[in-house]
């Protein structure tokens, strides 16, 4: 059984036929070849598969593609505009927050969602927001610094 869906990803419509068992993560990576979204555990524990669904961070390994039908998805590939990195991406580079980079897309997207709601979050709020994402390289302090740097008006 295949089902027709039409998902809006990074500003473009993607009509497709999917099996119901296809997760949003599999759809993004396997069908659209947007491999910036990572799969760690596949079970909701690690947070590396986070994308924005209608602007909110969610674990894409726990969402069925059919369930994202008609909704708006933002992945890490959708943040740069006209070849210019998003301020959060730039801040992660400037502050050395990236080691292997596996957690980075999720960290950056979750930070973007947080700052869109609250441009200058307190340290506790940042930790709450990013608490669901594991960084196996242990870059947490530099990630926190990067988020705070964007919060402190270094954002456009």
């Amino acid at each position: 059984m295949k089902i027709s869906i039409d998902i809006h990803v990074n500003g473009e419509q993607y009509p497709a036929e999917v099996e119901p068992r296809t997760t949003l993560l599999e759809f993004l990576r396997g069908t659209l070849h947007l491999t910036g979204t990572k799969e760690g555990c596949g079970l909701g524990d690690c947070g590396t598969c986070i994308v924005l669904l209608d602007g909110k961070p969610v674990n894409s390994c726990l969402v069925l593609a059919v369930d994202a039908n008609g909704r708006r998805v933002t992945t890490i590939e959708g943040l740069a505009e006209d070849g210019k990195l998003h301020p959060v991406q730039q801040s992660f580079i400037d502050n050395g927050a990236v080691q292997c980079g596996f957690c980075t897309p999720a960290m950056i997207l979750t930070t973007k969602a947080l700052l869109d709601k609250n441009p200058d979050p307190a340290e506790g709020e940042i930790k709450q927001a990013l608490g669901g994402i594991l960084c196996r390289c242990g870059s947490y302090q530099k990630i926190l610094n990067s988020v705070q740097a964007v919060g402190k008006g270094e954002r456009k």
């Binding site: 068992r21 599999e26 674990n59 369930d67 930790k127 709450q128 608490g131 669901g132």
Partner: protein
């Protein structure tokens, strides 16, 4: 990559239709809400549903509304994040927002629903204890029409509810909190800042009147096969004026009446210690909030 096994998929637009599909499948089909529990169990092959019935296109399952009598209705498909951030919840039944705020991590809370949390009937549910101390009522719709039951009558055992095949939870009703009432939910997990299931969770609610408890309810999770009330501890609180000593006694009794297990997260004896500590602190917090005069 963990792949889900194939299943058929339905997206009914009405409750009646959803209930019919579920009934036809005789236990082989599951309602799909946030999917944060269901998809994990399917990936782990703990269950293998023939069909999933997505509830999300059914309008009436959404939303948080205050009722004329000071009570509140929360649709079963409301997300944990929406409960955590709702001004209605913060104003009328803030303990629910406190519990929602410690369930998993934020991205998970954007998916997870209250109906799914109760539908899972996990012994470690973070929402169940608060629903129990608030005496929530659960509205359902099924093959035999609409129904309603108390939250205490929903859990049958670990992972199992008293709902029949095709019976769907539609909403939770919370009676108004009495004046001079305070309530708190405290959870101990392995990770602070979210992500992990409770080692122990305790909700306490106190209504005060001239230094004594007019009403008290204590409910615990991760302490036995289902979330449960601590009736004996409640009796201790009702036996006289509220003092720190009486709250400590009640906490000790709560730990005695609980029957926690040893698992990969921690030992039963450690859980008993946490029950004691959390019950005392939850009672203290509820007491302080009750003295604040408002239902906070």
């Amino acid at each position: 990559m963990i792949r889900l096994k194939a299943f058929s998929y339905f997206e009914p637009a009405s409750l009646k239709e959803a209930s019919e599909i579920l009934t036809q499948h005789k236990g082989e089909a599951y309602p799909l809400a946030g999917g944060t529990d269901l998809l994990v169990r399917m990936k782990r092959e703990a269950i293998r549903p023939a069909a999933l019935v997505n509830l999300k296109r059914i309008r009436e399952l959404n939303g948080i509304q205050s009722e004329k009598d000071g009570g509140m209705r929360i649709g079963a498909l409301t997300t944990i994040a929406d409960i955590e951030n709702s001004t209605v919840v913060h104003t009328s039944h803030p303990v629910l927002a406190q519990a929602a705020g410690v369930l998993g991590a934020q991205p998970l809370r954007n998916l997870a629903t209250i109906g799914g949390n109760i539908g899972r009937a996990s012994p470690a549910s973070d929402m169940a204890p608060s629903l129990m101390v608030l005496q929530a009522r659960v509205a359902t719709e099924g093959a035999s029409g609409p129904g309603e039951r108390e939250i205490d009558k929903v859990f049958a055992g670990p992972g199992s509810t008293t709902l029949s095949d095709g019976e769907i939870m539609t909403a939770f009703y919370f009676p108004a909190m009495a004046p001079a009432t305070g309530a708190a939910y405290l959870k101990m997990g392995r990770r602070s800042g979210g992500g992990d299931c409770a080692l122990v969770g305790v909700a306490a609610l106190l209504t005060l009147g001239s230094g004594e408890a007019r009403a008290v309810r204590i409910a615990m999770s991760s302490v036995g096969p289902t979330p449960r009330r601590a009736n004996k501890a409640e009796a201790v609180i009702l036996s006289g004026t509220i003092t720190e000593e009486r709250m400590r006694d009640a906490a000790r009794v709560a730990a005695e009446e609980a029957a926690p297990i040893t698992d990969m997260r921690c030992s039963a004896s450690y859980r008993k210690e946490i029950i004691k500590v959390l019950t005392f602190r939850a009672l203290q917090e509820a007491n302080q909030k009750a003295q604040g005069g408002q239902a906070t």
